[in-house]
């Protein structure tokens, strides 16, 4: 069905085809088909518990799908060897819902760990890169702090600094603004856009913060918990008024459609 159109379109950065996600026999979502283009800020939206985070886990290679595949610039992820998967994973930057900074390492060490693993930079240069990444997220001077010594908003930004340590092609965010005040959340949105423009990365965000969705997104997919599949994909600003699906309109208008 949708797969037939695939060849006529220009190659997208991320292509999701016939994806079915399940925990054991319990199917979370089925028949997901969508594309994310290079430079998109792509939102995965849907009500609580509909499988947004599960979809993200499959996209970053943490959980295998029950059926279907995800490809990055035409390179299949789940049908590839571990070596190819690791190469693909290295082009991802991920920030987790809780930040997931390594609590026994300082912020600088958190950023330096992936650098140490995947580059052959010297110690001094790694420190410089780590300082730069922390400066990019507005945390210059916090190199020697431990994650437990800074606020929640700062932890999220530090996690972002770690995610961009290896200059990723794709940045994944799981609920970036959860638990942040409106101003911090807005600053983070601006930072995401700024990084997209300067790094030239593709951005995939799981969120249901409407304010954030309308500020940053230019593409999205809506997961429907009831029918267990996606309903629409497209720019949320357009879907808000023009989606044929009343559920999507209701979601994007806080139920006041």
């Amino acid at each position: 069905m949708v797969a037939a159109q695939q060849d006529t379109r220009p190659q997208a950065h991320i292509t999701v085809r016939d994806l079915t996600m399940a925990y054991g026999d319990f199917v979370v979502m089925r028949d997901l088909n969508f594309d994310v283009n290079r430079g998109d800020v792509f939102i995965i939206m849907g009500g609580s518990g509909c499988g947004k985070s599960t979809l993200l886990k499959q996209m970053i290679g943490l959980r295998a799908p029950a059926k279907g595949d995800i490809a990055y610039e035409g390179v299949s992820f789940w049908k590839s060897t571990e070596e190819v998967q690791n190469r693909l994973k290295r082009s991802f930057g991920v920030t987790f819902q809780q930040g997931a900074l390594w609590s026994s390492l300082t912020l600088a060490e958190n950023v330096m760990l992936p650098l140490g693993e995947y580059t052959d930079l010297g110690a001094a240069e790694m420190r410089d890169v780590a300082s730069l990444k922390l400066a990019l997220v507005g945390l210059a001077g916090f190199e020697e702090f431990y994650p437990s010594e800074i606020s929640g908003g700062m932890q999220k930004r530090a996690a972002l600094a770690r995610a961009i340590a290896l200059d990723p092609d794709i940045l994944f965010f799981d609920e970036p603004s959860a638990g942040l005040d409106p101003i911090s959340s807005r600053r983070l949105d601006e930072l995401i856009l700024e990084l997209r423009d300067s790094l030239g990365a593709t951005i995939v965000v799981v969120t249901h913060e409407l304010a954030s969705i309308f500020t940053i997104a230019n593409n999205s997919v809506f997961l429907d918990a009831e029918t267990r599949t996606m309903t629409t994909t497209g720019d949320p600003k357009v879907l808000r008024t023009e989606s044929p699906d009343p559920k999507v309109r209701a979601f994007l208008n806080r139920g006041e459609a």
Binding site: R87, S103, K133, D167
Partner: protein, 384 residues
Amino acid sequence: MTALDDTTRAHGEVRFEQPSPDTLQLSFTGSWRLQDHRPPAAGFEQQLASAPGSRRVTLLSTELGAWDSGLVTYLARVVTLCRERSIEVDASGLPEGARRLLELAFAVPPKKDTGKHGEQPPAVTRIGMTVLDLWRGMPEMIRFIGEATQSLGRFLTGRAQYRLSDLLLVIQDAGPSALPIVSIISFLVGLIVAYMGAVQLAQFGAQIYIADLVAIGMVREMGALMTGIIMAGRTGAAFAAQLGTMQVNEEIDAFKTMGIAPMDFLVLPRMLALILMMPLLTLYSGIVGMLAGLTVAIIVFDIGLFEYYQQTVRALDLRQFAVGVSKGTVYGILIAIAGCLRGMQCGRSAQAVGQATTSAVVTSIVFIVIAASVLTILFQQLGI
């Protein structure tokens, strides 16, 4: 920007020129990615030093190839050095992405004087501070013991808030589940005591006294001690890790705000479980130890089963059991206190949970050994 999967290592270079006496011009050429060969920023510092009249630095990138953080790190260093010397930087010749990243990096001024990780204080100061910390920790420990006692009091009068199912679960964990490891260790210790003792006793032809040695040694002393040390490593550590993780997740705060005393709900069942289970495990350990002694006696030293039994019964009386069991109970209380105390004191990070667990085991073992010495001397003096 390219990912780091490229195995070809290219070269990046920077050319320094001085188009006018007060201007230093940097032209970046070649590939400036993290995995490429790039000149260090120290080169720029030398150039600046050799041209002290510079008031302006121009950055050009007309022949620049691929770039990523490798370039931006260099540029950030250049901007920092120029700012320190109040030299103007003209970044308009850079790729737009790099220019924006530079702006972003310097948008928030670095936090200065964070008071972090300065010089280490001298050794004497550190020793003093450690001792003071230990001293300040004392009231906390005493308060904890006091609160635990109050909680036990509430339990005895039936006013404590706890769930029976929790208590049973902890009992299952601290009792029956510990049987395999207690069996193995007790059997081997019994074996060692019997064998070591018998070799000495055989020199006097008194092998039959293995029975006395093993019976009194295991029932009175070693059974309780070994069980205590096993339970400290097994259950004490588990208590500290459980409560520590709850502390990290703010679960303990949640109890407090609901008006439920964590002492009753979390600490009390754990203490009760160990107070109830430790005497039984001690008794069990003594019996397994004696079986090991019997095995050695029969197989290695040719002593008859009945003979050994007779000798054991003669050696033991109720007092020996009472001493062993009471020691076991005391160790149980100490393990529960150390495990729960360290868990409740836990900080709010994964590392803190590790420290709490380690500290719980160390504290319990120290407590146990001190208590063992004190009780042994006490019982001897009392003639029990």
